[in-house]
Symmetry: C2
Subunit: 148 residues, 2 copies
DNA sequence: GTATAATTGAAAATGATTTTCAATTTCATA
DNA sequence: TATGAAATTGAAAATCATTTTCAATTATAC
């Protein structure tokens, strides 16, 4: 966590931005949660300990955290911006359960290699990609989405 | 196109919904465009010929088109709901250019097979998946996103 | 044709995200 | 450690896509 805070400070300094109490609180809250957290969820978490920090500040700081390379966007199809940890977390794909909403992180080097090859074949230079598989997890086998 | 219209009518009838002039106009407009169209874009297209059709009707009809299995959602990361043709269009993945915004449809059966295997290994029953590769297309090589 | 249930368009509501702005805070420099 | 320019803050308002409301209209089974 110290390393992440260092990277965040560096990112701010590099852009002539200031290291404020609020920004550090938001970063700490983000680092503490391992969830794929939305801005609203993080705001509620922070509000408990620091009710003086406003929604806009949380929102703005999340952008900065992304820009510092500490978080990446994930999209679970619910139209809400969610962020997951990036630093120290390798790229991975997601299995997302349509019944219970839980997600699982997976990684397959063979798929990654084929994706790279597929892009190259089209003379396309890949920068990043995302792959999400929606379905039913072990516990929810046989359930349908409406049974949630 | 006749087949699609037939399927749409059937879908409506099955749910005790009515086949209206407006719904047919929206479907036709959707079928005519091969783009990954947003609700707003489609509304503007329709407005030219049928200014009496309202936004809400376009929006509602797009839902029905989806439910009839004629369109599926795509997400290009711009927070806007977009639909692409589903009927007669096989599943595919997308290469999305960060510079010019163009996209390319690709398909690799080996990747599909590995995805299936990956899910199974986690006792996960896949229903659908999406894979988007963001990067730079042949024309935009070397450009950065800010050069658009 | 008539009854009735669904549909329509306009406008308003919603909900996440983003901006505005006056007051406050940071921090490089003195 | 003080100072002042520049950045930041929180609250509220604005934005923007999406979704709902509702009274008037329309489709369709009989």
């Amino acid at each position: 966590m110290q390393k992440e805070i260092e990277l965040f400070r560096d990112g701010l300094k590099k852009n002539n931005l200031k290291v404020t109490r609020q920004r550090l609180r938001v970063l700490e809250a983000f680092l503490k949660t391992e969830k794929h957290v939305s801005c609203d969820e993080l705001y509620r978490l922070i509000r408990g300990e620091h009710p003086e920090i406003g929604y806009a500040t949380v929102y703005r700081t999340l952008k900065l955290i992304q820009e510092a390379g500490l978080a990446r966007e994930v999209d679970f199809g619910d139209k809400v911006l969610r962020l997951e940890h990036e630093y120290g977390h390798k790229h991975h794909d997601h299995l997302i359960c349509l019944a219970c909403g839980k997600f699982f992180e997976v990684f397959d080097p063979d798929i990654e290699a084929l994706q790279e090859k597929l892009a190259k074949k089209q003379n396309f230079t890949p920068v990043r990609h995302k792959m999400d598989i929606f379905g039913y997890c072990q516990k929810c086998q046989g359930k349908s989405a409406s049974c949630v």
